[in-house]
Amino acid sequence: MKQNAFERRHQAEWQAFARQLDALEHGKAGPDSRQFPAAYRRLCRQLALAEQRGYGSRLVEQLQQLALRGHRQFYRHRSHLGARCIGFLLGGFPRLVREEWRLVLAASLLFYASLFGMGLLVYLFPELVYSLLTPEQVAQMEAMYDPDVSRLGRFGERSSAADWMMFGYYVMHNFGIAFQTFASGLLFGLGSLFFLLVNGLSIGAVAGHLSGIGYTDTFWPFVIGHGAFELTAITFSGAAGLKLGWALFAPGRLTRGEALRQAAACSVRLVAGVLLLLLVAAFVEAYWSSMTLPGAPLKYAVGVLFWGLVAAYFLLAGRTRHAPD
């Protein structure tokens, strides 16, 4: 068949297909959307024919563009975001963490070992804190946890109306750290190791210093509540970063690029979980941890409860893959 005859025969069909695509691209399912898959396959056949018969490039390109747009609509990853989020929250996230237990364990060991090690060292040798923090930073920390103020945390003497400000500040600050810890894992995992270590050391130094100078009654009740979520989130983002690095370091039987892609698809889900944890942590930190009204015993009790909840969630949730009958 000559090219002009071919075009004449199918022109109307192509125009209809283009109209259908316009509608779909604007999110409207037209009245003839049920015929879309069949129309798309017909178009693909016509494109293959046009290429095989050596028709002109202008016609072939026009069909290719239609096929590209059709492909984009036909193979769009459509999913119920809400349902997927709930499924992830109820089972997917803890399962994922248990699947990656080696990396989570490695990140946790590094982070907590540096935290407690540095804390103990600073507690025993108080001057060591100045090897990590400047005197101004130490003074600022001391002011934040001074037992005489009624509300704790950064910008200590604030009204409860300022909780909003703190929430915003914590979100910005903590998410930045978590994202950095994750992303720098692409450098063969070194970045994640570095940020885990540095964060562990500096948190440990602050904790050791404040305990050493006797601010225990303000510092520990303040941090124990949101620490359950925040510290867990940081170790998880470290684990996600280590997964990227490990894929580059030891790709197994895949090429490095392919191994990286697969690892990234997995670790970005871990990061999505970290987002949730950090959001909870920011709420708790801004609204609960900063209150001094509840006494220290109550805060310790709630803190232990939070840690228990987090542990139970990641150890137990999502064990049964199907809903019970």
């Binding site: 000559k2 798309y40 396959r41 050596g54 490039s57 563009q65 193979y75 929430f167 500040y169 990286l260």
Partner: protein, 277 residues
């Protein structure tokens, strides 16, 4: 247009006309399409696809066709990023001016805005606006998965979080190096997320074939030779007279016409190939 003389291969068994036809075809291949195979072992009947010579990126679909994507290089992507940077700066400036008047509540909202604009601006636009942030939209670019499907939440989040690494050690150095070294211009974030920044397809204007009388084919033509002839006819309006004559002159021998008439003969044959309109 790129002329690759190195692809001329004399083929004693198929005669000089084919070799010349392949030569003309190979001249168009950088824009026109598949690289022509002139070796007798692999007849170029138009069904054997070889990797393109230019930067086009082919995705084979289950329907048995190849989608043709045009990955965007460093400069348009950098420009798009610069536009996005300005838009973000503007949003932040407005937000701080507006929210600064609400005291501490405003400060909190401003930090939230800062967080959203820093980390989520690209992700939200890419997922909700068919892979286009405002800068990409302005420059006609679009983010897709490697398989040509629209970018989703996971891939977009990955490529934008890993932007931090592309920025290292200063001024996007790693990203630029990776982009320049990769055949599809991927930065590190694109490599990990399996995404691709491509030009959005644009409707091509319909070229007008010159009004000449159709002339019969001198001999049977292969598919790629037909394509080359049609491409010549479709593009002759954009070529200078001398260039047209020179190109057509190559085929004067096989067509058995004087060089001066080769162009008219070729256009006539192209007319014949198109059929009556």
């Amino acid at each position: 247009m790129e002329w690759r003389q190195s692809t001329i291969r004399p083929e004693p068994d198929r005669g000089g006309c084919l070799a010349a036809g392949g030569w003309l075809a190979s001249g168009f291949q950088c824009e026109h399409g598949r690289p022509m195979s002139a070796s007798p072992a692999q007849p170029s009947d138009g069904t054997v696809r070889q990797p393109p010579l230019d930067t086009r990126y082919l995705v084979e679909t289950p329907e048995g066709i190849d989608l043709v994507l045009h990955p965007a290089g460093l400069v348009p992507r950098a420009l798009a990023f610069a536009v996005d940077l300005m838009v973000r700066g503007l949003i932040l400036l407005l937000a701080f001016l507006l929210l600064g008047q609400f005291g501490e509540l405003g400060m909190g909202l401003a930090s939230l805005t800062f967080f959203l604009v820093t980390w989520w601006y690209m992700v939200l636009f890419e997922v909700l606006n068919q892979g286009r942030s405002p800068g990409k939209q302005l420059l006609g670019l679009q983010v897709l998965h490697d398989d040509g499907t629209p970018v989703g939440w996971a891939a977009s989040l990955t490529r934008n979080l890993l932007r931090v690494v592309d920025l290292l050690p200063f001024g996007y150095s790693l990203g630029i190096l990776s982009c320049l070294a990769h055949p599809a211009f991927k930065r590190l974030g694109d490599l990990a997320a399996g995404t691709l920044v491509v030009y959005r397809e644009r409707a091509q204007p319909r070229p007008s074939l010159p009004e000449v009388a159709a002339q019969p084919l001198p001999f049977a033509l292969q598919a790629d030779e037909r394509r080359a002839l049609l491409a010549f006819a479709e593009r002759q309006a954009g070529l200078s007279t001398g260039r047209r004559r020179e190109l057509a002159g190559i085929l004067a021998g096989p067509l058995q016409v004087p060089e001066a008439q080769a162009e008219a003969r070729l256009l006539g044959i192209a007319r014949e190939l198109m059929g009556p309109s």
